[in-house]
Amino acid sequence: MPFDSTLFLELLLSGLFQGAVYALIGTGLTLIWGTMQIVNFAHCTFMTFAAYVTFWLFTLFSFDPLVSLPVVFALFFLMGFLFEKFSIEPLIGKPREVTLLLTLGVSITIQNAILLVWKATPRLVNPVFSGFWRFYGLNINIPRFVGFITATLAALLLHIFLTRTIYGTAIRGTCQNRTAAYLMGINVKMVYALSFGLGMACAGLAGVLMCLFFPIDPFIGDPFIVMTFTVIVMGGLGNYMGAIFSGFILGIIEYFAAYWIGSLLRLTVPLLVFIVVLLLRPRGLFGD
């Protein structure tokens, strides 16, 4: 079969666009793990919840998802901050299973509350940026492209925040050595709440982006769970740059595997790559 450059480019772009979503969800989760060593099982459910908030803002106030972006970001940051303060903080120092069960319980509760309130009916938001760009035989899905740009921008802003601000430095410091951070006078409890808020805000952003190109229902988070955890472990637990990088890599691998090897193996091949990476670098690509 001759090499089809248009097809190659189309697969590459689709993989990149999907990878951006994995990267964004993974970044939030890895941030929380990095600072607090907490596995937030409710992360993808919060993303689903954010998608519904976006849908409601669209239905009730005709807010385009891109307009909802800062609103949802702020709302989910606040929610995450308060959730950490009132639910996670009292459990710090307890065995890790306690927070694990807490987030799992919260996930189940939120998912069923969504089902109760919004029912299982699939909903689709029609954003301003819709349709396709077609040139030289290439078909670009505009909402997915917008999602990719937004996710990349968010990752960039997060990187600037974490490397150029005092709060970001405090978070990174706590990630590296919690005891040393205490000794340096960093308010570690505040760092925890801040990180959790930021992580949730990332899940919120991912939820908004899902609305751009995905029919939402109470279970949209489920297919992303496995890939999200793969992304953060492959990137190196707690390393947000690793999560971003492996999100993109796994997205691209998934799309090429789906086309050339078979749709049923679309997740198997990225997971095989993940296993190979762990065999070669047990702490992940960017792990210490």
């Binding site: 097809l7 189309e10 697969l11 689709s14 999907q18 069923n112 089902l115 029912k119 299982a120 009916t121 699939p122 909903r123 689709l124 396709f132 077609r134 078909n139 899905n141 190109f213 995905f214 029919p215 229902d217 109470p218 279970f219 949209i220 489920d222 297919p223 992303f224 799309y255 789906a258 086309y259 078979g262 749709s263 049923l264 679309r266 997740l267």
Partner: protein, 429 residues
């Protein structure tokens, strides 16, 4: 000074409270064990198995609404007259679309809720273990929608299926294609088969592959045969595969509506639409068309329900209008079959005149309901020795101007088929 300190008195109080609680709990437990609450005998308990969570929850919600609505309707009309006006009590059990949950729920309905009949369970994969439980306990099982052919090949004695089998339905597609070729004079040669990896969809796709081997009916060249995971997050690659293969007709089966929406988006993205897109599953619902709008136009599906039926059959108009008005739910194929299951149930109970399982089963085997009592355009409902309704069949619908219109077979069709379907570019132009 008191004889006992305050602390000691508090301890005694706590001990007394604990003793009282323990005695009360033991008492209640013993009472329930030796004198269990007897279920009311002037009611018919009907267990309804349907998915209320998971990817098919939307369908389950419709079925639940129809089951409760039908029970209320029958009860308001005086209940089951041969049982002295016994009322129907519906007990809904969520299967989550999972076989193991369906089995447990069926067992619970029979042993704890003491149901007289079970109706369910939408998914073929769930119906099989649930029906096995009903068979084990000797409880009649009325299957509303599950269409896997194997369900009526198990030698079940208590199993009755209102709806047809995939073997019959799959054949309908090839008969339709043959009719399309003959009436439209268009010689198409290549097809593609696409299915999500669920028991139902793989069953349908396998039947398609088998039927295509029959040169009198099929004999087309299969240029692409795609299986993809259930609940995909994107289908661009699968659509690209189809585009590269460029078949004349695509036979596509997926169950959840979100997957149907994703397929539509992906086909539009890669700018490919076959001459006929024949679908089975998640496409044929009002919710799908509401979401995709004009992009859903010209898609063809197999159906058991269409608003066109309201023009054809008075019962369809009467039930659909009242149901939607009173529950706010859409009529779908799943509510249509749930309605049919309750018609069968009521008829059997009236003739059985007893709540003994064997009498109900016997009445079910003698079912002979005329076509004017049910919504689908069938001759009626009558079960063969395997429990299969011999009259069940499908019709083909096409999305035209935002509505699913009946296009085949000719005697029930309301509009002419649009064939070949215009490409995306032609539609935009």
């Amino acid at each position: 000074m008191s004889l006992l300190s305050r602390k000691a008195i508090a301890k005694i109080y706590i001990a007394i409270i604990i003793v009282v609680i323990v005695v009360a709990a033991v008492g209640v437990y013993a009472w329930l064990t030796f004198f269990p609450p007897r279920p009311k005998e002037n009611e018919v308990r009907v267990g309804v198995l349907t998915p209320l969570t998971g990817a098919a929850a939307y369908f389950g919600e419709g079925q639940k609404a129809m089951a409760l609505w039908m029970a209320e309707r029958i009860n308001n009309e005086g209940g089951i007259k041969s049982l002295g006006g016994a009322k129907i009590r519906v007990i809904i059990a969520d299967t989550e679309g999972k076989p193991e949950v369906g089995k447990t729920q069926a067992s619970r309905l029979i042993t704890e809720e003491k149901v007289h009949v079970i109706i369910g369970a939408l998914h073929s994969g769930v119906t099989l273990p649930a029906a096995q439980e009903a068979e084990r306990y000797g409880i009649p099982f009325i299957c509303e929608t599950s269409s896997h052919p194997d369900l009526t090949k198990q030698g079940f004695k208590w199993f009755f299926r209102v709806w047809g089998t995939d073997a019959v339905f799959a054949r309908n597609y090839f008969e339709f294609m043959k009719w399309l070729k003959e009436t439209k004079g268009y010689e198409f040669k290549t097809i593609a088969i696409v299915a999500e990896e669920s028991l139902f969809c793989v069953g349908v796709a396998t039947e398609w592959e088998k039927l295509n081997l029959d040169s009198t009916l099929g004999g087309y060249q299969i240029v692409a045969n795609i299986r993809h995971p259930v609940s995909p997050t994107d289908l661009t690659t699968e659509a690209l595969t189809l585009k590269q293969a460029n078949p004349d007709v695509v036979l596509l089966t997926v169950t959840p509506i979100p997957s149907a929406i994703l397929w539509t988006q992906a086909l539009k993205q890669v700018n490919f639409f076959p001459k006929a897109l024949l679908t089975c599953g998640g496409f044929i619902f009002p919710e799908y068309l509401r979401n995709v709008g004009a992009d859903g136009e010209y898609i063809i599906g197999r159906e058991g329900w269409s608003t066109d039926l309201m023009e054809k059959k008075p019962i369809a108009k009467q039930i659909a209008e009242a149901f939607t008005k009173e529950t706010g739910k859409d009529m779908t194929v799943y509510t249509t079959t749930m309605h049919a299951a309750f018609v069968v149930l009521r008829d059997a109970l009236e003739r059985a005149g007893s709540l003994e399982p064997e009498k109900i089963r016997q009445a079910l085997t003698e079912t002979n309901i005329p076509g004017d009592k049910i919504i689908p355009p069938w001759e009626g409902i009558k079960f063969d020795a395997t429990g299969q309704n011999i009259y069940a069949m499908n019709f083909m619908v096409q999305a035209i101007n935002g509505r699913w219109r009946i296009i085949w077979p000719k005697d029930v069709a309301t509009v002419d088929v649009v064939f070949p379907a215009p490409s995306w570019d032609e539609r935009a132009g």
